[in-house]
Amino acid sequence: MLKIENLTATVGEGEDAKTILNALSLAVPAGEVHAIMGPNGAGKSTLSYVLTGREGYAVTGGSATLNGADILALEPEARAAAGLFLSFQYPVEIPGVPVMTFVRTAMNAQRKARGETEISAPDFIKKSREIARVLSLDPEMLKRPVNVGFSGGEKKRLEIYQMMMLEPRFMVLDETDSGLDIDALRTVAEGVNALRAPDRGMLVITHYQRLLDYIKPDKVHVLARGRIIRTGGPELAHRLEAEGYDGVLAEAV
């Protein structure tokens, strides 16, 4: 499903350009959930931004395909329409744009790009209500401007709300656990798990093992210095939690 091969990317320009991803290779088959763990500065967030097309990063080598199609050549909105979704580590505030307006605009823009018909207002509201209930979101919150005045936990839950509304084919969750207490973590994980499907893939980026107790990964990759240095099953996450990154990093050198 998602296939990344020898992906190399830099941030900055000219002499200041710094290589952040260094020949990174990774494959997530359809139906699987993979976790990416790694120390601070390993390139975890950079990977999520390069995949989704944020400005400021230059891909200098390698490829990334979603179901065989090159995504790196596409504008960010086209990647989204192709089914790629990023749950942001730091969701931004959008003053003046209510959540419902935003999500409906996004949903219809994606549908239009895919040649599908728009969702009707009653269908949209019905769907929104159900998902808000699953995530224990106050419906009033969905009438307020996107993320403005929301707590850290509310922002993360709103990311999952958007994900459930938009039903992407491939999801990248960037440190979704940061800023969540244990109850919120459980709620968010339930939402994420509800989206697990044979035709969907997921990349869960996290610093700690805790999230993976709730979102059980099929594989765990360790990212350091811009590349995957180790891949294993869920037990690898437990080992990292117990021993820290130093041991695994030392072995890899």
Partner: protein, 408 residues
């Protein structure tokens, strides 16, 4: 034309000579002459005149040939609201008016206070008359709120119009104005006197062509406990100045002055305001938002004048925020607080910058195309400035949206 008239303006441009000729063709009148003289002190104001550095009518108005632009739709037109229409050729008013409104179309021009400070307001007053009223007086009595709509449009060379409102004690007026251009030079002067406790809701929409000049001057005087709510959406013209001069004359007077400007390529929109706190315990809330494209120019000049003795307990705030949507967009801002009283609360803020890259990426990551994302964020940015327009807010927002979708 007599030599004396020609000499009114030193070193005149061709357009100014045409204005002198226009003036000379109108019925001679001592007050009209005084108003024209007030204008002639500066002539068409330009960069050498204080307050006109960025809005240079002298350079921009090179000819007074009628433009060939197609008429534009009036987004503020509503059925059932009495409408006054001013074109270069005629003035029309409905046969019957709502209760509480009284109209008097006078041939003569009326004196204007502070004419020297508003040269294009003085010009509008000096050139009103002939086929349109020299002065249109509108009296608003106490009672149920009165609604009135005014349209200023072409076609023609010069569209000069003057309307003087008197709001009696306790009166409430909802007036909307559509300044639709269509003339080489459109100059409108609208004056409001608010007696004790009167309330004014004024909503202004301005649009103009790339070869047109427009000046909309408002002069507002407020008595004790009077309150005004002013909302403007300006889309600019070759050169467009929307100037408001407001005086709080007695204690307890309040004003909310909001404006949004959107300037596309080859167009300029200038929002200039001057507020004098001439009595203690008066309140001014001012918010101006703007967005400008490559080749467009936005100008904001705001001044609060708070005198030492009369301005005590003033509560005033001024905010201007501009978005430069593209490289090559220009915004000039001069917020100015002249505060001589010591017991006051005055605040001001002024920002200009580009759209936030993180916000844009967030919208695009969700599938919203770049152009639509820009329009959404820009609309959200200016929306607050249009919130006070009440029942007309939606109409103004629709115009702003159309502009943004077109611009994108």
């Amino acid at each position: 034309m007599s030599t004396a008239l020609k000499d009114l303006i030193g070193n005149p441009t061709i357009a100014e000579l045409e204005l002198v000729a226009r003036f000379a063709a109108l019925k001679a009148d001592a007050r009209r002459l005084r108003l024209f003289e007030a204008f002639a002190q500066t002539g068409l104001p330009g960069r050498r005149i204080e307050g006109w550095r960025w809005t240079d009518f002298k350079a921009a108005v090179t000819s007074l040939d009628a433009p060939t632009t197609a008429p534009v739709r009036d987004p503020l037109a509503r059925d059932g609201v009495a409408t006054l229409r001013f074109t270069p050729a005629r003035y029309t008013a409905p046969a019957s008016l709502p209760a509480g409104l009284r109209l008097l179309a006078k041939d003569e021009v009326q004196a204007m206070g502070g004419a020297e400070d508003a040269p294009l307001g003085a010009l509008a007053a000096a050139l009103s008359g002939g086929k349109t009223p020299g002065t249109l007086l509108v009296e608003v009595g106490a009672g149920a709120p009165a609604h009135l709509h005014m349209v200023f449009e072409g076609p023609g060379a010069i569209n000069a119009a003057r309307v003087v409102f008197l709001l009696r004690p306790g009166a409430e007026l909802h007036v909307s104005e559509s300044h639709l251009g269509g003339a080489a030079l459109s100059a409108a002067l609208v004056e409001f006197t608010l007696n004790k406790g009167a309330r004014l809701h004024r909503t202004v929409y301005q649009i103009g062509g790339a070869s047109e000049a427009q000046a909309v001057t408002a002069i507002i005087e407020q008595d004790a406990d009077a309150e005004s709510f002013l909302t403007t959406l300006a889309l600019g013209a070759r050169i467009a100045r929307l100037e408001t001069r407001l005086v709080h004359c007695e204690t307890g007077s309040k004003a909310t002055i909001n404006a949004a400007y959107l300037a596309g390529a080859g167009l300029q929109a200038d929002i200039t305001t001057h507020v004098r706190h001439g009595a203690p315990s008066c309140v001014t809330r001012q918010l101006t938002k703007g967005a400008v494209l490559d080749g467009g120019r936005g100008v904001f000049q705001g001044k609060f004048h708070v005198p030492r003795t009369s301005g005590q307990q003033t509560d005033a705030s001024m905010q201007h925020n501009a978005l430069l949507l593209e490289e090559g967009a220009e915004v000039f801002a001069r917020p100015e607080l002249e505060i001589l009283a010591d017991d006051v609360q005055c605040a001001h803020g002024n920002t200009s910058g580009a759209l936030d890259a993180a916000q844009l990426f967030y919208l695009r990551q969700r599938g919203i195309p770049l152009t639509q994302a820009r329009a959404m964020l820009t609309e959200a940015f200016i929306a607050q400035a249009l919130e006070g327009a009440g029942e007309l807010e939606d109409a103004l927002r629709a115009e702003a949206q159309a502009w943004l979708n077109h611009a994108a």
